[in-house]
């Protein structure tokens, strides 16, 4: 059984290799190869899952040691996997949603002549992501970590001929690199502290070192998480990442990759448990981001950007939960999974809408689509209900738990975090309702574009609708399945130990308030977008709205401070290198030449002056000799 773990990674990796090296001759079958291998990996995952369920809790975690990777004096890095409940959860999510999205892409990318490569990249992503969650040490995790970064870079920039896409891809990679810096520093700290960076030893030894070290490690891990999971202050890339094909947004930038940060924090739970300060910062980051993303989500007219904002905000919830420590870990993961379902569903829905609308993304040019694409409408609607936390659907269970845990944190912290989470819930309801209304309700607002061809909204092919339906099921029932009877809790508890939080106010009260704020949000949205028609051209809007449209000016900040500043720095350095560093050398050479020129003048061609120099020389010679004797 253990040896199957490697196959999980190997299958999609093989796919990537074949598809990317195969060349044109594979164009015809490329997408099938990709899909088959992805699903193969899912099947393996399922087998392992069944096997795991068969064991009792203590022996569920299994591992596989492939080979020793970097054997150097006093430094052991192995290529070894560990598959415990946590990893298993992710494996199923990744391979499952992944396979679905492969299927979806068959239809979605039908008309793209580079479809084979697209599937190659998707497989590459799966492999890297699985490596990330299966690694049994931080260095190997780092490999997966950067691997998914690469895949996301390739996929965001898949339509490279669009400069915007290429730029977005580069931006994503760079911002992620900043996060990766944090991860690598964390690994170094672990190495110098514990002499290793394998999960087991490190997490066991947390007790043996000071809190300062652990806080440092924790913060560095958090930095990494911020980069990967688009948390403030490293969130800027996610919005632009929507340049990529929609399946990519669904798989990578909603369901799986962006949640890697949460995985990292939960996986390193012991470290954070022992470093309260790090935890506090984590919760703050989560809280800030969940508001930030929500606000941005409210202002965007681009349907994918709006969903991206929502993703940011939802991951904010997870980070917040993860920051809460043992009382939050499980719910973070739970929300992660449910979110994986409904957000992927929402994105696929959006993709299907765009598919029918000539890739139009501006919601102000949609309207009344429910008649034209019923399946999309229904699935999207279910996803919508799930995310706003409509009682009984997935989002309800997971989000509610998180809010509860936030309050349970206790003290003013608890109050603040809890209310922020509540507020977030309200805004979520607002912007999702907005999306819903602008897209599927009201009058049709699309006109023929400048080339005069008017979009003919139509339902998408079955290859696309089926995955949406499946995901819709997930979004409806997953939450209940996990939440009721704390199934999920018991499943994960052995890995991420759990502590029951006791919120100051009763759980029911919290649940009720959650529902109320949700209704409020929906209502507000209805008043603004349901009652009166939506203007095709966006109104100027309030200061906040305008700021929110521009991602709360945070890009502008980056541009001015980092980009401009960097340009100036490099330009001036180029100048310095040329004038100063090089100049010194050339200067000495030149001065040598000048000196030579001057000395040359002495050689004036007159024999008598030569004689003078000889005479003088003789005089000096004699004088010097006598002098030597004198002293």
């Amino acid at each position: 059984m253990d040896n199957l773990i490697a196959l999980l990674v190997a299958a999609p990796l093989l796919g990537a290799a074949v598809l990317l090296c195969g060349g044109r001759r594979l164009d015809a079958v490329g997408h099938w190869i990709g899909t088959v291998l992805a699903s193969a990996s899912f099947v393996i995952g399922a087998i392992l899952f069944a096997d795991m369920l068969g064991k009792d809790e203590e022996h569920r975690a299994i591992g596989q040691h492939l080979f020793s990777w970097i054997p150097v004096e006093g430094f052991q890095a192995d290529v070894a996997f560990q598959l415990d409940q946590l990893s298993m959860t992710f494996v199923l999510l990744i391979t499952g949603v992944g396979s679905l999205i492969h299927v979806y892409s068959i239809g979605y990318m039908e008309h793209d002549e580079r479809r084979r490569r697209f599937f190659g990249y998707l497989n590459l992503f799966l492999a890297a992501m699985l490596l990330l969650v299966l690694a049994d040490n931080y260095l190997l995790l780092y490999v997966g970590w950067e691997g998914v970064g690469l895949a996301s870079y390739l996929l965001i920039g898949f339509w490279q001929h669009k400069p915007s896409a290429a730029t977005a891809a580069k931006k994503a990679f760079l911002v992620n690199r900043v996060g990766d810096m944090g991860l690598s520093i964390a690994i170094m700290l672990m190495f110098t502290t514990f002499g290793t960076f394998a999960f087991g030893p490190v997490l066991e030894a947390t007790g043996e070192t000071g809190e300062g070290k652990l806080t440092a490690i924790g913060l560095m891990l958090l930095l990494a998480a911020c980069g990967k999971s688009a948390q403030v202050p490293l969130q800027s890339w996610l919005g632009d990442a929507m340049e990529g094909p929609t399946p990519v947004s669904a798989l990578i930038h909603a369901a799986t990759m962006v949640t890697a940060g949460v995985y990292l924090i939960v996986r390193s739970g012991e470290i954070f448990n022992a470093a309260p300060d790090a935890q506090l910062v984590t919760t703050v980051v989560g809280a800030v981001t969940l508001l930030f993303g929500a606000i941005v989500g409210c202002a965007k007219d681009d349907i994918k950007k709006a969903l991206a904002g929502s993703t940011m905000s939802q991951i904010g919830y997870m980070i917040l939960a993860a920051g809460l420590g043992p009382i939050g870990y499980v719910f973070a993961i739970m929300h992660l999974v449910t979110h994986g379902f409904f957000k992927a569903g929402l994105f696929l829905g959006a993709g299907s809408v765009m598919h029918g609308m000539n890739d139009e993304v501006d919601m102000r040019k949609y309207g009344g689509l429910r008649k034209h694409m019923p399946v999309t409408f229904v699935t999207f609607g279910l996803g919508y209900l799930a995310i706003i936390g409509f009682p009984g659907l997935s989002g309800f269970f997971s989000k509610d738990k998180i809010i509860e845990a936030a309050f349970a944190k206790g003290g003013t912290e608890g109050w603040i975090l809890g209310s922020v989470a509540l507020l977030g819930a309200a805004i979520t309801a607002f912007y999702m309702t907005r999306v819903m209304l602008m897209t599927f309700f009201g009058e049709k607002r699309w006109q023929p574009d400048e080339k005069g061809n008017e979009p003919h909204p139509h339902e998408s092919p079955r290859s696309m609708t089926i995955p949406m339906i499946v995901l819709a099921f997930g979004s409806v029932f997953a939450g209940g399945f996990f939440g009721i009877g704390d199934r999920f809790l018991h499943w994960l508890e052995p890995v991420t130990e759990h502590a029951h939080g006791h919120p100051p106010i009763g759980a029911t009260a919290i649940t009720l308030s959650t529902v109320t704020v949700m209704i409020v949000g929906v209502g507000l949205a209805y008043l603004q977008y349901g009652r009166r028609p939506v203007p095709v051209v966006a109104p100027r809007g309030s200061l906040l709205t305008r700021a929110a449209r521009r991602d709360l000016l945070q890009d502008d900040f980056n541009h001015v401070v980092l980009v401009r500043g960097g340009e100036h720095l490099t330009r001036s350095l180029v100048y310095v290198d040329h004038t100063l560093v090089d100049g010194v050398v050339n200067g000495t050479a030149a001065s040598m030449g000048g000196l030579s020129g001057r000395l040359r003048k002495l050689q004036n061609g007159y024999a008598r002056s030569y004689a003078v120099s000889m005479f003088g020389g003789a005089a000096i010679l004699i004088a010097a000799t006598l002098l030597m004797r004198a002293v």
Partner: protein, 99 residues
């Protein structure tokens, strides 16, 4: 009288000759100055040999004369050929090559 004075004289002559080389333009004169220096040397040799009471110095003086004569032959040959080709015996005119 004290032979040391001859040494002083020799030194004087030598210096005169040397300064002559430095200041005179005419190649012939310069050359004569050099001869003067050589003769100063002779004087010195003789004076020393007188002081030491051995004959080496005087013998050397003879050698020097012969050498000087040889130098005259060679030197005049060169100077004359130069003079003929550029109609001037000035040392300073011979300054094509410089720097």
């Amino acid at each position: 009288m004290n032979p040391v004075n001859y040494l002083y004289l020799a030194a004087l002559l030598f210096t005169i000759g040397a300064s002559g080389v430095l200041i005179r333009r005419n190649a012939i004169v310069v050359f004569m100055c050099i001869e003067l220096m050589l003769n100063a040397c002779n004087l010195a040799f003789v004076a020393f040999s007188r002081m030491h009471g051995n004959l080496d110095g005087q013998i050397i003086a003879f050698f020097t004369m012969v050498v000087a004569a040889a130098e005259v032959v060679v030197g005049l040959a060169i100077i004359v050929s130069l003079f003929r080709s550029r109609h001037s015996a000035s040392v300073d005119d011979a300054s094509l090559m410089k720097l």
